[in-house]
């Protein structure tokens, strides 16, 4: 098979339709098929309904409305023969062997030879699925196990059988990696594969231990969360998120499939409370609530939690465990005396032991098991990384103390760690007791790897500059949440000088959860509170100058965002020669939300982009109105594709689906621009002046009259209108970039002196969202 140009997904449930949507996100046409329900008027109704539902879903399954158009909604009775058109068929139907095999036989009758067929089964072994199927089918068959939601969860477990064609499996894996952006973990054909087998073990164990030790659910989640690098939903919050009904279901199939000696059985117990909750419709966040719920009785929202002892809801209590707050790292929590430490060990001790037992069973590769838990359950550290942090001898010792079997790989550690860094390379212990260097797939470049053997070229408290080879440098934000401050600007200024003198190109990139959430509001608020207006204005000017230097530097600059790129983090993209964005980039100028106008050149660059857009009508006003609409509402693009529509990205800017490939793609793009590079020409802008500002303000007042805009929104919109329309500019004048920058700065300084703007700052810092004042 040569490549995958079209895909069919059979089964339009939550997972099937999510997978279909994500394939469409990659720009690949998809046929989404399901059965025809008895007596249905719309024979494609199941698939059609699923797509319609996804268009409204939060978080969005589609990256753009265009992607939705790539999904063709069909049914299995009328359109089965259209499977001939596709290169890959993904089966996502009910978890019943007979149903699946019946479907496979129908598929086998129509598919063209060499079309990959995969099942998204989470528990049925491949062996069973292909049993009795023709050789040709078995050769093209594999398991591709996606995680929910398919757009956002980066793990894809792949299982192949002895008869699976390796080349075909490689093609599917490569497509999933490069086009769908998944990290592939190859698993052995064992029940539950890796992530769910360990994950469900952990969940089951955590619920039982909380029950036994009388640990309230909030406390259990607090202990399981931050200290172990597990999302703050902990375990009960996680079960609420994925659905309580999933737990007995998955547990049952795992128990049915696992041999009796497997430790999974020992931790199992009946959970009448969960059964009752499910029966009463408390299936988690998708239902009426779960272990937690929002009680809306009496018109007030009260967060409630289940008392595991009585099974009744009670008001949720804030966890107040100072010792937990002070305990640094997982080991410190395990060492805590009393209930907290006991609970932590009762959950994690057996979980880590079970993980160690999976080596050779579910995978031979320790790193793969860690990767599966990191990407499938969003753990910060996989189980073996956790053991390294806690200390292998400690874990083995306590297991022995408890009279538990110590898995051989743990017993054989003898003071070694599972990971080590040798000559600047990360190595992992193999089942044979040797260390093996971890090799990244081709086309994957990680700054974390480079850092193992290199020192930064430049560094301060907020940023660093790295040599990433071939004359290319990488500027990394290193502050908390990658917020931008004076230090960032100072180092960027130095970096520009250094690259100019010694290197070919600059990539702006980092491996934080978010590219940058914008300027450091806490510092700005503190400065404003002590009336340090001069300092604030200096920082505004410094950012304007530095971004200006970046734009006109005599070398190519490529920014490579992933996650949020907001405010000042968006403005740095706007000043780059090119952007290579991770598909999951959320870009926007959100200054208006906190009561400001963009003042590091954001208004200026957006005006220039829209004025150069041939699709707009002639005259100065249309571009100004477009930018005003986007910026005054603090619109954030919810994907890189959406960012193109808003011109935060230009048509020629690139999108990378796989997060791990982002730096390599950005570097390649920068290198391609080196030869014959010339900095851009400065923009000159024709703006409508005061009459244009008046029109924008009237539009804003319209919103206020409809109750959409607040009093301070109007003040902010007024300042924004003044900047975008060119201040007192005459229609006949053209303004240069500096003139717009002056307007940005003046508007910013007037707004930052208002009490309402400072209230918004404070609410963002304290609650994460601006107060609507």
């Amino acid at each position: 098979m040569t490549g995958i140009r079209k895909v069919a997904v059979i089964g339009a449930g939550v997972m099937g339709s999510g997978i279909a949507a994500h394939i469409a996100n990659a720009g690949v046409p998809v046929l989404l098929m399901d059965i025809v329900p008895e007596g249905a008027a719309d024979r494609n109704g199941l698939a059609r309904g699923a797509v319609a539902g996804m268009l409204k879903a939060e978080p969005a399954a589609f990256m753009s409305p265009r992607a939705a158009k790539l999904v063709e909604t069909l049914n299995l009775e009328d359109h089965l023969d259209r499977l001939r058109e596709v290169d890959w068929i993904v089966e996502v139907v009910i978890e019943r062997l007979d149903a699946k095999q019946a479907l496979y036989r129908r598929i086998e009758a129509v598919r063209k030879p060499g079309t990959a067929v995969s099942s998204n089964t989470s528990t049925i072994p491949l062996d069973a699925l292909v049993e009795g199927m023709p050789e040709a089918f078995a050769k093209d068959f594999l398991i591709t196990h996606f995680f929910n939601p398919p757009r956002y969860m980066r793990l894809l477990e792949i299982v192949t059988g002895p008869r699976t064609d390796p080349a075909l499996a490689a093609t599917v894996a490569d497509f999933a990696d490069r086009r769908l952006g998944k990290s592939i973990v190859r698993c052995k054909d064992r029940p539950g594969f890796i992530a769910n087998r360990l994950g469900i073990f952990w969940i089951q164990n955590a619920i039982a231990a909380a029950d036994d030790l009388g640990v309230p659910v909030e406390e259990a989640d607090a202990v399981m969360g931050r200290p172990f690098g597990i999302p703050k939903t902990g375990v009960f919050g996680l079960v609420d998120l994925v659905g309580l009904d999933l737990i007995p279901h998955t547990t049952r199939s795992l128990r049915a499939a696992l041999p009796p000696e497997d430790a999974f059985h020992a931790t199992f117990r009946e959970m009448p409370l969960i059964a009752r909750l499910i029966a009463e419709g408390y299936t988690g966040r998708k239902g009426k609530g779960g272990f937690y719920r929002l009680n809306r009785e009496g018109g007030r929202k009260t967060k409630e939690a289940i008392d595991l002892g009585t099974g009744a809801y009670r008001p949720s209590a804030k966890v107040d465990l100072p010792e937990l707050k002070e305990a640094k790292g997982p080991r410190a929590v395990l060492d805590l005396p009393g209930r907290v430490g006991d609970y932590a060990w009762r959950v994690m001790g057996p979980t880590l032991a079970y993980a160690a037992g999976l080596v050779g069973e579910a995978s031979d590769d320790i790193a793969a098991i860690d990767e599966a838990m990191r990407l499938g359950y969003n753990w910060k550290w996989g189980p073996f990384e956790l053991i390294d942090r806690i200390g292998g001898a400690f874990v083995a010792g306590r297991l022995a103390e408890d009279g538990c079997a110590v898995p051989p790989i743990l017993a054989g550690l003898e003071g070694k760690t599972f990971y080590r860094v040798e000559n600047g390379q990360r190595q992992v212990l193999t089942a044979g007791g040797e260390y093996q260097t971890l090799v990244r797939p081709e086309g994957v470049l990680r700054l974390e790897d480079i850092k193992l053997s290199a020192k930064p070229l430049l560094k301060n408290g907020s940023a660093a500059l790295w040599d990433i080879g071939d004359g290319v440098t990488c500027f990394e934000f290193t502050s908390q949440a990658n917020a931008l401050d004076e230090q960032t600007m100072v180092l960027l200024g130095k970096a520009i000088k250094l690259v100019k003198a010694q290197y070919k190109a600059l990539v702006i990139y980092n491996e934080g959860a978010n590219f940058s959430v914008g300027a450091n509001l806490g510092l700005a608020l503190f400065a404003a509170n002590i009336a340090a207006w001069g300092e604030i204005e200096k920082l505004v000017s410094l950012g304007q100058q530095t971004y200006g230097h970046l734009k006109y530097a005599p070398f190519p600059v490529v920014s490579a965002p992933s996650g949020m790129a907001l405010g000042g983090g968006c403005e740095i993209l706007l000043h780059s020669d090119a952007v290579q964005a991770h598909a999951e980039s959320y870009i926007g100028l959100v200054e208006a939300g906190v009561g400001l106008v963009p003042a590091w050149g954001g208004c200026k660059e957006m005006l220039a982009r829209w004025q150069g857009n041939p699709a707009l009508p002639k005259g100065p006003m249309p571009a100004v109105a477009k930018v005003f609409e986007t910026v005054s509402t603090a619109t954030v693009a919810k994907s890189a594709q959406e960012a193109r529509d808003l011109l935060f990205l230009r048509p020629e800017d690139g999108i990378t689906m796989n997060r791990d490939r982002l730096l390599a793609d950005a570097k390649a793009r920068a290198l391609a621009m080196v030869e014959g590079y010339a900095p851009p020409e400065p923009a000159s802008l024709t703006l409508p002046g005061p009459s244009g500002a008046l029109a924008l303000r009237m539009a804003a007042e319209g919103f206020a009259n409809r109750g959409i805009a607040t009093a301070h929104d109007l003040v902010v919109a007024g300042e924004l209108a003044r900047v975008l329309s060119g201040g007192g500019a005459d229609l006949l004048d053209t303004l240069d970039e500096d003139a717009i920058l002056d307007l940005e700065r003046e508007g910013f300084m007037r707004l930052v002196r208002t009490e309402a703007t400072l209230e918004r700052f404070e609410s963002v810092i304290e609650t994460g969202r601006p107060v609507r004042n």
Binding site: L525, F526, N529, I530, A531, A532, E535, I765, E766
Partner: protein, 594 residues
């Protein structure tokens, strides 16, 4: 002989002229300027005539513990009776329970007079006032009804029982226990020390507010509850019944405030009632903290004023040597020492401190009234921010300066200040405690840098920095004020730098904030005094421009303002340098080297 005249002219200045633009607060309309002046005048008279004469004898005689009962010095019970009958105990209290609801703006001025005239005496009603506030804020209606009217009319008094032998600053360590009796009351057992007015013969009953732990209490400060424990248990009809298990086991022997009974108290299965929620005792304490700490700051000012008046009297009458530029009083055997620059330096320093502190204290006291009475929630919050910010500054700055002033006052007297006859050394001894109790001044500085600065990303600071900068911008444009505004603008810049420095360093390393705290608080305080001096100067200039028959008063204001800006405010530069130097030299020495 100690002398004291209530500084009524300056009090009227801060009350009416300095804040002339502030609106009258709803609920406080009755306290017109005329009413306020009459109250101040009456209070002044009482302090001068009844309290001052008892100050030195009270110090000599001290309190005695006789047969388990504390006897205050001669004349104290009679003075207290007059004080109570004059309605002074009810002055600042809630009208709902028989109080007069006097604004804090006036109340704090009265407190200053009492502290100048007789600090030891002032502590008895002062402690009562604090206890009343805690009861008002947190106790059940039944407790309020049973206790507040008697405490407010002064027939009963109150105490605050916090400290134990092993815990002062760190109340989380306290051990006194409270066991529920099942009838709504609790059995309180434990020992407390340093309890001001713990026992005395001024009132017929004493109501102790006691911090103790319930049996199920969490560890630390989150497990402390507040209890009301009367010395004598009132019967349901309000008459006094059985003696409760509370006794004064000893009196502390101390450096100053000797006429104030500082008691060790034993609670032995004493009957008490919970005030507020279980384990939330610290919250009840904190609600009255701002007002209480401001009051202790005012004690510093009271000492400073008394020292100033004593020193001035002596500097005018003591004849020694001749002026450096030639004889001033050929008719006398020598010139009064007032002619000497260094004596002038001493007197001007105390004067500048006193008038500055009075003006600043009035501003903070007014914010307490705004918090309570302003109709606009935004204004109330601003006032709350401001008082939270300024409370540690006022407490530490005023008491530091008060002690310094008392010491300078003694210095003016030379050897005659050191001996007892003139009463100057008593001011030094009495003033010293105010730097220690109600949170040592070191704790105040930590409160400022550790709690108040970082709160809400520095929001409390806004309530000070924004009005000060706005006023500076205006004053710099005024030709008359510019010479005073310029040095203040420079110092304000230093305060901004120091604040930013601490915010930045202290966030990463709390020890850096701790190391800078005391100097920072002083720097902050000096700038705050500079601000009120600049405002005072503006009022004086305006009055002089408009024409006044009190030229001397306003010109003296301007001269003192100038002295402050030229001779005191420059300390800010040194303090900034110290703040910026960091913790290095402070923390470097090995513990074994101490």
């Amino acid at each position: 002989m100690q002398t004291y005249r209530a500084p009524l002219r300056d009090m009227r200045f801060v009350l009416h002229e300095l804040h002339a633009d502030a609106p009258v607060l709803p609920g406080l309309e009755d306290f017109t300027p005329d009413v306020a002046d009459a109250i101040l005048e009456e209070a002044g008279k009482f302090c001068e005539e009844r309290l001052l004469p008892l100050n030195a004898p009270g110090d000599e005689e001290g309190c005695r513990l006789e047969n388990g009962v504390v006897r205050t010095p001669k004349g104290f019970p009679e003075a207290y009776k007059a004080f109570r009958e004059g309605g002074w105990t009810a002055m600042g209290a809630d009208p709902a329970f028989g109080g007069q609801g006097l604004p804090e703006g006036i109340n704090k001025l009265v407190e200053e007079m009492i502290c100048s005239a007789n600090l030891s005496f002032g502590l008895y009603p002062g402690l009562s006032h604090g206890a009343c506030q805690a009861i008002e804020g947190h106790a059940s209606e039944a407790l309020k009804a049973a206790y507040l009217p008697r405490m407010i009319d002064g027939t009963w008094s109150g105490t605050m029982c916090l400290t134990e032998a092993h815990c002062g600053t760190d109340l989380g360590l306290l051990r006194t226990r409270a066991v529920p009796r099942g009838d709504g009351s609790y059995a309180i057992t434990g020992s407390k020390i340093f309890i001001s007015a713990g026992d005395h013969d001024l009132t017929e009953n004493i109501v102790h507010l006691v911090l103790a732990r319930l049996p199920d209490a969490p560890k630390g400060v989150k497990g402390i509850s507040l209890f009301l424990v009367p010395k004598i248990l009132p019967r349901p009809d309000g008459t006094l019944g059985a003696r409760n298990g509370v006794t004064c086991s000893a009196l502390e022997h101390k450096m100053g405030i000797k006429a104030s009974a500082t008691c060790q108290m034993s609670f032995d299965d004493a009957t008490g009632w919970l005030v507020g929620e279980p384990h939330k005792g610290m919250r009840a304490m904190f609600t009255m903290m701002n007002s209480e700490r401001l009051s202790v700051g005012i004690q510093g000012l009271g000492a400073g004023e008394a020292a100033y008046q004593g020193a001035v009297a002596y500097a005018k009458e003591r004849l020694q040597g001749r002026s450096l530029v030639g004889t001033k009083r050929p008719d006398l055997p020598a010139d009064p020492i007032l002619v000497h620059p260094d004596v002038r330096r001493m007197l001007m320093t105390i004067r500048a401190y006193n008038e500055g502190c009075r003006a600043l204290g009035a501003w903070v006291a007014r914010s307490l009234d705004v918090m309570e009475h302003h109709p606009d929630p935004a204004e109330r919050r601003r006032a709350e921010d401001f008082s939270a910010l300024m409370t540690p500054v006022v407490k530490a700055l005023f008491t530091d300066l008060g002690f310094e002033s008392a010491s300078i006052g003694m210095q003016v007297y030379g050897g005659h200040g050191f001996i007892r006859d003139h009463g100057m050394e008593q001011y030094v001894r009495d003033a010293r405690i105010s730097m220690i109790y109600e949170g040592t001044n070191g704790i105040q500085a930590l409160d400022l840098v550790g709690r108040k600065l970082p709160a809400h990303a520095g929001r409390y600071l806004r309530s000070f920095f924004h009005p000060v900068l706005a006023f500076l911008d205006e004053a710099i444009e005024d030709d008359d004020l510019a010479p005073l505004a310029q040095p203040l603008a420079k110092s304000f810049g230093a305060l901004q730098l120091a604040t930013a420095h601490i915010a930045q360093k202290g966030m990463k390393d709390p020890e850096e904030a701790g190391a800078a705290a005391t100097e920072y608080l002083r720097l902050f305080g000096l700038v705050a005094l500079g601000y009120v001096w600049l405002r005072s100067a503006k009022v004086a200039h305006t009055a002089l421009r408009a024409g006044t028959d009190e030229r001397d008063f306003y010109e003296a204001k301007l001269t003192t303002a100038r002295f402050y800006m030229e001779r005191i405010l420059p300390q800010v530069a040194g303090l900034l340098a110290a703040v910026k130097s960091g913790k290095g030299a402070m923390m470097a020495l090995d513990e074994a080297m101490f």
